[in-house]
């Protein structure tokens, strides 16, 4: 009789403990995990604590870029070549590798471009002015895609281009073609920025972006 009573009450205790754990876990998920990981904030706890910022960080670079008009105009069909040099560049991204490619461009003169990859890439199309550097970086498009094409009119003189991130387990080959008033190009990704001269480029714009880091926050 006593035995049975003990078993029953310990069974109830166990059920209570298990129920408590499930409840606590559910509460923690709703209150903290959903806002922080997915930006889903049913009770407003994410906003109140600032946890929602983990899911959707402030992006001052994108906010600056969004204030601009007529910088990036995407098109359905490959754009006509623009006046200046024509360049193409190919790069194979290993799994989880990222790379950044920039053209040096003067303010206000259009460049047309198209890039295409053998798989989906995360990208951040952005620019750093020579005057102000990385403190004044502007992003114009951050997304994932397999191709992108259009016309780009630099809002300032500086380095303009893309950060690409391969978040797949496969090698992805990327091919970029562009034409316009580019004077030089720079590849970021290795231990040091690598300047890549352009065939046929006439003008020269001096300047650089000091303290440049890969856009994804990775230290080179």
């Amino acid at each position: 009789m006593t035995e049975m009573h003990t078993t029953a009450s310990s069974g109830r205790t166990k059920a209570l403990i298990a129920g408590g754990i499930v409840l606590a876990a559910a509460a923690a998920i709703v209150l903290f995990v959903l806002p922080a990981e997915f930006g889903i904030d049913p009770l407003g706890t994410g906003r109140a604590t600032g946890l929602d910022k983990i899911a959707e960080p402030d992006n001052p670079e994108l906010e600056r870029g969004m204030l601009r008009e007529d910088v990036l105009m995407l098109s359905e069909t490959p754009p006509q070549p623009a006046a200046g040099v024509t360049d193409s560049w190919e790069y194979e991204l290993a799994p989880y590798e990222s790379v950044e490619f920039k053209y040096t461009l003067p303010e206000g003169e259009p460049m047309t471009f198209r890039w295409e990859a053998t798989g989906t890439l995360n990208y951040d199309m952005h620019a750093h002015p020579f005057e102000g550097g990385t403190d004044l970086t502007e992003s114009y498009a951050i997304d994932e895609a397999q191709a992108m094409q259009g016309t780009y009119v630099p809002a300032f003189t500086g380095e303009h281009g893309w950060y690409w991130d391969n978040r797949s387990a496969n090698n992805v080959t990327l091919r970029l073609t562009a034409s316009g008033p580019m004077t030089s190009s720079t590849i970021y990704g290795g231990p040091a920025p690598q300047e890549r001269p352009l065939a046929g480029a006439t003008g020269r714009i001096d300047g650089n972006v000091e303290g440049h880091e890969l856009q994804g926050g990775e230290r080179p």
Partner: protein, 222 residues
Amino acid sequence: MPVLAVIILVALPAAVFAHDVAEGDKAFVRTIDGPAIAPFLYLGAKHMVTGYDHVLFLLGVVFFLRRLREVVLYVSMFTIGHSTTLLGGVLLGAGANPFIIEAIIGLSVVYKGLENVGAFAKLGLNIDTRAAVLVFGLFHGLGLATKMLDLGVSENGLLANLVAFNVGVEIGQVIVLGFVVLLLDAWRQRPSFARYAFAANLALIGAGAWLTMYQMGGYFAS
């Protein structure tokens, strides 16, 4: 069955989360300039709960501990160890090579597994477990510090955010321990515990050894 449950519990985070600071979290930390207590509490707890290396070590530490007092004692040694190097490492900006640190953390799992199967006693080695847990705790903390530095955390509000991260780590540790201790407790009352405890610790040794090899591979490849 319980073995399976433990293996799943231990292996699941490993499969689901790469044990790096997630890229998204990094993007978040880069935008922080000043104290952000709640987010760093969360990131600390998340790092512990999804960090299978820390979870494996804790599992090894409490595997044969029946009494709460002992659990508290050993876990305190671990906490003192990892908090010391986490706080010190970040404030001094002293990160270490992450591969080496992770390899040593793997070794800490191997060590605890070996001790649990009585290997050191058999060899006549008399290692003070409390001291060992403290010392390995120092390395786990160095790993945490390296991760925190890798997040690129701002100098502005660093101390507040660092302490929040550390407290978050302890909250995460309590969550992990709660699960591990309850599951082990339930398992201990069954006959299968006596039968499979040895095998479970061999699995722990194997997992620790794999972690070590994997990280050393990463070190030589980098």
